[in-house]
Each structure stands twice: as structure tokens, then as C-alpha cells.
Amino acid sequence: MSLLIRYAEQSRPSVRFFLDGQAVSALAGDTLLTAVLTVRERLRTTEFTGSPRAGFCMMGACQDCWVQVRRGDGPVQRLRACSTLLEADMSLSTTSAPPPVIAEEPKP
């Protein structure tokens, strides 16, 4: 289930990324927040009570949408989902666990 609904610009090219280790897709030009919330109902859980969160202000003020992101086999970064654009093959986590390193697909 998704939280956000796409109403426009649905012809933008598809971009693959990984959410909690699973391959999913969003659109080029999506923020991390849009990419996750058009696939899932939450972005993260809180450190104190574990309750689900999905951002709030969308303009970099509330700081409620920081997510863990990994590019390739690089280090885990915390990025603000509403103001970071999605890149192909990013690995994101919606839990407190770090996003996994995605193994290279075997060449055909």
C-alpha cells in the first residue's frame, strides 16, 4: 500500500531502487520521500517509541524524514528524504536496521 498518490507527471522514466532489501521502482525526479511513500505507508520509525512516521512538512523544516541510505557498498548515510533526489539502485531502510548492501546481479 502507498501513502502518497500520483496525480501528475506519471510519464517520468522509471527508476529502480531497493527498500529494506527488496527491489522496487519509483520515477526520475522523485525525492526519497516520494519514492518510498508511493510504495510504502511509512518512512521510518521513531527512536523512542518505535511509532511509524512518514515526514510532515516536506520542505526541510520538521526534520521528521531522515532515512538511512546506502549507495553501492558505500557507508550508510542519513539523508533528509524530502530534499534528497532518488538515484538509481540506492538502498534505503524504513526500519532501524541499516540498509543492506545490494549484491551485484550475476552477468548473463
Binding site: L4, Y7, T38, F48, R53, F56, C57, M58, C62
Partner: protein, 461 residues
């Protein structure tokens, strides 16, 4: 003219900052324009990321398309003169220098003259259920649609007060969402009472009336004088409970909820720079002092746009140009007095309109502080409840918001009180039975927004 050796710096590339930078450039200066966003326009004229499939300006900005386009294109003719730096966060102001963060690198920028055009975000009063997925600010709901082509749900409710409620409901309905209800805490009678002041800007009033009439014509239920009760749902919002103006409890099913009570200016940088502030009872907020031209209490420091007091995008353009002219004048340049007169006359109308608007759509602060329950989470960052706050007040009797912050951590989380500050102030004042201006204001801390650990300082190999 005797030009300062350092170029003037403008912070914020919304309508105020862009008009300020362009005005400085037109008068022969080479300003630096710093903006946190990747593309110019601010939040009001926010642009989607560039790429295929982008909507037209009229699809994105409706009646404001021409103004938005003019702002987006305003910098291009001065590209050789304005040092426009997008994706640049100003995270500190200290001793005549700004600390910047851009592409993971920090840098320091010295200044002699500075125009703050830092904009605003939604003003929020927490309600039970407001931290659930599916609940966003009104401005956030609008940004999702404008910058990403996404809505916060398929059946949505907009709750709070202010003209933005009606504009966003109109935009969502036009986009294809079902707007289940527009719930306004302000009584309709207030709009009638303050109509004379709203007539200061008849075209703006006409647009507001158009949106309201459109919603009525398309059967969107609009209720005024309501009291929010709670948002309900199992891990995401599923309905809103509210009380109508007759005191009857109502239930509206939805899968998205936008809340907001007007806007609050982003004043942290002006505060850090040392600008004097005064409490503005109309805004129920502390605003940096400024004269009618936008001069702050500090020499060489100017203020424009919603970051210095909420007056809206059109006023921001006027204020940006006026502040730039003040800067030029103070540096000894010759400016056109007839242009100044035009700008000041227009600004006076914006101020009359703003005064009426804030009275017609007031923050329902007193009723909120009286009725807020102990288990309500006020602080999204650290999940501090109204009960935690009340217990701290009873135990240690803090008289000042900063003391309350030190004791309870309210306002100390990642957002630095942007989301909870208004609520914490209202509750503390209510607990003490004093006015909200008698408990001081939360002091900003550097960095004004979280910056990643491991950023590279400038000049590091």
C-alpha cells in the same frame, strides 16, 4: 558611489530574495544569492526537478503562473552579475561571517551587508494523531502536489485556518482528489467583520472568494468555527474527529490530512546575527524589528519577505526590492525616489490586508492550551508530551521557554522547535496564566538545521 569591498549577500531565493538580488544587480552590484533549494522560486513558486514530463506553469501555479514564471526567469539576465548558489544551506551567522554547507562541504563567507529573505513554514498546533503517517502540514500537502505531482491521499481533509486551506482544497480537487472536508477553526463571522481591511487588496480577496465559491459549486463540504478533536487510524490516518460550530461531534473518513494555522517566519538567522526582535501580537510571534524599508536594528542588515513577518508572496517581491534599494541608499548609491514611493504605497496596502487576514483567521491558541490532554505528543522529534511539559512546569516552575527547553528538552530536538515551538509557548504561558510574550522566545542554536557528520571543511585536500 562608495562601494563596500565585499559583495552584498542575499539569503533565500524565493520572491523576496530574487527581487532583492536582481535590484542590486541592476544598480551595478554583484550580489551573492544563497539558497537551500536546488532551483529558484522558494516554497511558493517551488519548481519540480527538471526533466521530461514536467507540467506547464499554468498547471503548476494556476492564477499565479505569470508571477511564478517571472520569478523563475528573473535571475537569467543577470547570470554574469549575480553569484547564485543553489543547494547551499546557511547554518550559522557569527561575527560578520556566514557558515555554509554545500555538496557536503562547509565554507565561510564574510559579509558587510546582508539581506535575510528566509521565508516561512506552516504554523502548527498539535492534535492527537498528528504524528501518524498520512498527516502532513498544509504547505507540505501543497509541495507534494506542486513539486512531485503527488497528493497526500485520495480522500483528503484540510484542517486549520487561513486562506491556504481553501487554496489547497481547490488545488487537490482540481488534481482529482476527493476533498472530504475543509475544516476551518475560524468563525465565518470574522471574515465579514474584517472585510473592510481585506478590501485593501481587492484582487487577492477576489481570488479567495473564487476558490471558496468553486469548492461550494463542486460540492466540497466547508465548515467554519470547528474545533479539532483527533485524527484516528491504525498506523496511518483513517479519519478525523471534530466538533462543529454547534458543538456536535463529527467524523470524517479520509486517507490524508493536511493541518496548518497560517505560517511562521524562519527567523533563526536574523536572531543569530543579533537583530533586535519584538513580539507581534497579531502574529503571536517574535519578529525581527525593521523599518518600512526593511532595515533591521543592525547596520547593513536588511529583512524582506515572509521571513520577517507573514505578508505573502506579492508583498515579498515588493519588500525584496525595497530592502535592496535601502541597502543601495545606505551605501551611497542614487536611487529613484518615485520607485520608492510606489513600493511603499503598495507595501502599505499589503500591511492593511495582512492585518485583516490575521484577525479573520486567528490562531485558536487559548482554546487549544485549555483543552490539550496530557498524552498529546507536542514534540515530534523526541516525543515529549503535554503532560511531560506540565509536570516540568509544576516541579521546577520555569518562567522562560529556554529554561523549559533545558529542563524538558522541548524545542531541543532536530527541528529546534519549528514544529512544537508555538504550542510549547502557548502551553507554558497558559500554565503560568501569563501572556505568551512574557515567557521569552526559544533561542536558535547553531547549526540551525542538522548537518551530516563527516562534512569536509573548505580547503581540505
Amino acid at each position: 558611489m562608495s562601494q563596500s569591498p565585499l559583495p552584498p549577500v542575499v539569503i533565500g531565493a524565493g520572491p523576496a530574495g530574487i527581487r532583492a538580488a536582481v535590484t542590486l544587480a541592476r544598480h551595478g552590484l554583484s550580489p551573492i544569492l544563497l539558497d537551500e533549494s536546488p532551483r529558484p522560486g522558494g516554497q511558493i513558486y517551488r519548481q519540480p526537478p527538471a526533466g521530461p514530463g514536467q507540467r506547464s506553469a499554468s498547471e503548476l501555479y494556476g492564477f499565479e503562473a505569470a508571477k511564478a514564471t517571472a520569478i523563475h526567469q528573473a535571475l537569467a539576465p543577470y547570470a554574469d552579475r549575480i553569484d547564485y548558489r543553489p543547494d547551499t544551506l546557511v547554518w550559522n551567522v557569527e561575527r560578520g561571517a556566514l557558515d555554509l554547507l554545500s555538496n557536503g562541504r562547509t565554507a565561510t563567507l564574510a559579509y558587510h551587508s546582508l539581506i535575510f529573505a528566509t521565508g516561512a513554514t506552516d504554523r502548527v498546533l498539535p492534535m492527537p494523531g498528528w504524528t501518524m503517517p498520512g498527516v502532513f502540514t498544509l504547505g507540505g500537502a501543497q509541495i507534494a502536489l506542486k513539486a512531485q505531482g503527488c497528493g497526500i491521499g485520495s480522500t483528503v481533509v484540510f484542517l486549520g485556518t487561513g486562506p491556504l486551506l481553501y487554496l489547497i482544497a481547490y488545488q487537490y480537487a482540481k488534481a482529482g482528489a476527493t476533498v472530504a472536508a475543509v475544516l476551518d477553526t475560524s468563525a465565518f463571522g470574522l471574515r465579514i467583520k474584517h472585510l473592510p481591511g481585506l478590501l485593501a487588496l481587492p484582487k487577492v480577496l477576489a481570488k479567495g472568494l473564487y476558490y471558496t465559491a468553486w469548492l461550494k459549486a463542486y460540492g466540497v463540504p466547508v465548515y467554519t468555527g470547528i474545533t479539532p478533536v483527533r485524527a484516528e487510524g491504525n498506523e496511518r490516518v483513517a479519519s478525523v474527529i471534530w466538533q462543529d460550530s454547534a458543538g456536535r461531534q463529527q467524523h470524517t473518513a479520509c486517507d490524508g490530512l493536511g493541518i496548518g494555522y497560517g505560517l511562521r517566519p524562519e527567523t533563526q538567522l536574523a536572531d543569530m546575527a543579533g537583530c533586535a526582535f519584538s513580539f507581534n501580537p497579531l502574529d503571536r510571534a517574535w519578529l525581527p524589528d525593521r523599518d518600512s524599508a526593511g532595515r533591521s536594528s543592525l547596520a547593513g542588515v536588511y529583512l524582506a519577505g515572509d521571513g520577517a513577518g507573514i505578508t505573502g508572496a506579492d508583498a515579498a517581491e515588493v519588500g525584496g526590492e525595497r530592502a535592496a534599494l535601502a541597502l543601495l541608499q545606505d551605501q551611497g548609491a542614487t536611487i529613484d525616489p518615485s520607485r520608492v514611493a510606489v513600493l511603499e504605497k503598495r507595501m502599505a496596502a499589503f500591511v492593511r490586508f495582512r492585518t485583516a487576514l490575521l484577525q479573520a483567521f486567528p490562531l485558536p491558541a487559548a482554546r487549544w492550551a485549555e483543552t490539550v490532554s496530557d498524552d498529546l505528543v507536542l514534540c515530534r522529534c523526541e516525543e515529549i508530551t503535554a503532560g511531560d511539559l506540565r509536570a516540568t512546569v509544576r516541579k521546577d516552575q520555569p518562567r522562560d521557554l529556554n529554561r523549559l527547553k533545558a529542563l524538558s528538552r522541548i524545542g531541543m530536538g532536530r527541528c529546534q522547535g519549528r514544529m512544537c515551538g508555538a504550542a510549547a509557548a502557548e502551553l507554558l504561558a497558559h500554565q503560568h496564566g501569563c501572556a505568551v510574550n512574557d515567557i521569552a522566545r526559544i533561542r536558535p542554536q547553531t547549526p540551525i538545521k542538522p548537518i551530516p557528520i563527516g562534512v569536509t571543511p573548505e580547503n581540505t585536500p
